[in-house]
């Protein structure tokens, strides 16, 4: 009588392992975000421990564990802050959303004409929300809403009861309406995203479309969203060849100066576009505007889908008029941009710019 064959455990366990690891991204998005948040909090704590960041205390008091700083302008000028900040000597932060207390060891706040720049371990606090800053951030108050002009903040908002006005956070391409409670806003030069950890938020686009987010979801706007949409474009092969500003790039033998089909992975192109925009962002932050212009002009000679080319072209126009002050070059570029991208995403902004520059 033959022995019954015994099952082998190792092959089964390997099969099970393959099954569990079969997703390219097995780590749930909520888990990814929570761990990333913990890493950033840890980094912030380390900076605070090492006393990084200069601070100018104007008044201190003990209220729980908080120390409140007054925001003062550089050079000890009287600040003309776009963000009213209270110096609370003995009182807690006020109830009005339009007035925040600024807290944090190592926090430095620099009021400017249109925004207040925050550096270091900063927390904005009002009765309805608190916002923790990582690194640098720029905020302003606009039409009753707090606006994020740049950087990354973690918001913690008290749940909004029915009938109460929603808390609103402005970003470059829309408004976040908050029902509650925890989310991260990351605003870059060309766009950004919001990651919702808990609660519910609505993202209101300028055109009025509302996107509802639930925990674990991310919503992107601006260049990031356009690139993401471009990656899903069902017709990714449609390509517009950018003409050199001096029209010297292409000779008479070029078969078509306006349209040429090339086979390339859409994913490669999106990654390449993201890399370019990221690098241009770094150059802008370093105030190397001329280098950013050169990079964008070179990029615009590559093959792109319409949406990506539009983003890159708009970015070039912004650099020319906003940072280099080259009025004529900006006007010429914006005119060509509008001809090339009829009914484009940036039409309204470009019209305003052309009017401001008094372009012909």
């Amino acid at each position: 009588m033959s022995e019954e064959k015994r099952p082998a455990i190792a092959p089964l366990l390997r099969e099970l392992q393959r099954e569990l690891e079969s997703d390219d991204e097995a780590m749930p998005i909520g888990a990814r975000n929570r761990v990333e948040f913990a890493i950033r909090e840890h980094a912030r704590g380390r900076r605070a421990d090492r006393g990084i960041g200069r601070w100018l205390p104007a008044a201190t008091f003990v209220a729980g564990a908080s120390v409140v700083f007054a925001v003062v302008g550089l050079g000890a000028r009287t600040p003309e802050s776009a963000l009213p900040v209270e110096v609370a000597v003995a009182a807690p932060p006020t109830a009005a959303l339009g007035a925040f207390a600024l807290e944090g060891d190592g926090c430095e706040g620099m009021p400017g004409e249109a925004q207040t720049t925050l550096r270091g371990n900063c927390r904005l606090v009002s009765d309805r929300l608190s916002a923790q800053v990582w690194g640098d951030a720029a905020v302003a108050e606009s039409q009753g809403a707090l606006a994020v002009r740049g950087g990354q903040l973690l918001f913690d908002v008290a749940p909004v009861a029915k009938g109460e006005p929603k808390v609103r956070i402005g970003v470059s391409h829309g408004t976040i309406e908050v029902i509650g409670t925890k989310f991260v806003v990351n605003q870059g030069d060309d766009g950004g995203y919001v990651d919702l950890f808990e609660g519910e938020i609505h993202f209101v686009e300028p055109g009025g479309r509302i996107v509802e987010l639930h925990p674990g979801q991310r919503h992107e706007w601006g260049a990031a969203a356009l690139l993401a949409e471009a990656a899903e474009d069902p017709d990714p092969i449609e390509i517009i060849l950018e003409e050199d500003e001096s029209d010297e790039a292409f000779g008479a033998d070029e078969p078509s100066r306006k349209r040429r089909n090339r086979r390339r992975s859409q994913r490669d192109r999106s990654a390449r576009a993201a890399e370019i925009i990221g690098h241009v962002g770094v150059l802008r932050a370093q105030r190397k505007y001329r280098a950013a212009v050169v990079e964008l002009r070179a990029a615009l000679r590559e093959r792109w889908d319409r949406r990506t080319a539009e983003v890159l072209s708009y970015e070039l126009g912004e650099l020319l008029h906003r940072h280099l002050g080259e009025r004529q070059a900006a006007c010429d570029h914006l005119r060509k941009h509008q001809e090339r991208f009829e009914n484009g995403r940036y039409d309204t902004a470009i019209e305003r710019t052309r009017a401001k520059l008094q372009c012909e």
Binding site: R6, P7, A8, I9, A10, P11, L12, L13, R14, L16, Q17, L20, E21, D24, A26, M27, P28, A31, R32, R34, V35, E36, A38, I39, R40, H42, A43, R46, R47, R50, I52, A114, Q115, T117, R119, G135, D136, A137, A138, S142, A145, A147, R149, G150, G151, V171, S172, H173, G174, T175, Q187, G188, D189, D190, P206, G222, R284, A285, T348, A349
Partner: protein, 187 residues
Amino acid sequence: MSEPVGTLGVLARTDEDVVAARVEALYRQHRELVFGLALRYGGGRSAWAEDVTQEVFLRLFDVVAELEEREGLQSWLYRVTINRCLNRLRSERIRNAAPVRWLLGRRSMPHSDVERVTSARQELQRAWTLLQELPPKERVAFSMHYLDGKKQVEIASVLGHSKGYVCKLIKRAEDRIREQGWEIEGV
């Protein structure tokens, strides 16, 4: 809010900024590796694996500057993840022993996500259960050897034991498995 944003002023980056940026980048690059390992040793529990992943990357802050001089990053991540898992498994084994569970008012072991995978196949379920019942060190050594393909000397290096002891751990695990009517590898 339709105006494009302005730019921020830029501070000179401190060493802490550099460390933080590096850790964040490494986290994005290697989180799936760490999470996947922790998921296996945690019995398929996602929350458990998330906690281990967080511990590992927070630990990375202290060593990232010197890491590539001493050993490869992946080796470090593997070693630290395994050891974190082992520590947790050991303390769980104590906390979840029947008398302790009774004292703490717990009725059963935490739910395992792996049940959704194994429910359709009893053999897989039995294999998984058998692995989970091994003592923590034997389970880890056995898994590293048969699932990760590690040699005994590599396992010894990760666990901080001698090669001889690792050999004993694996042999004991194999004996327990055979006692339950299984073979290790198919013919």
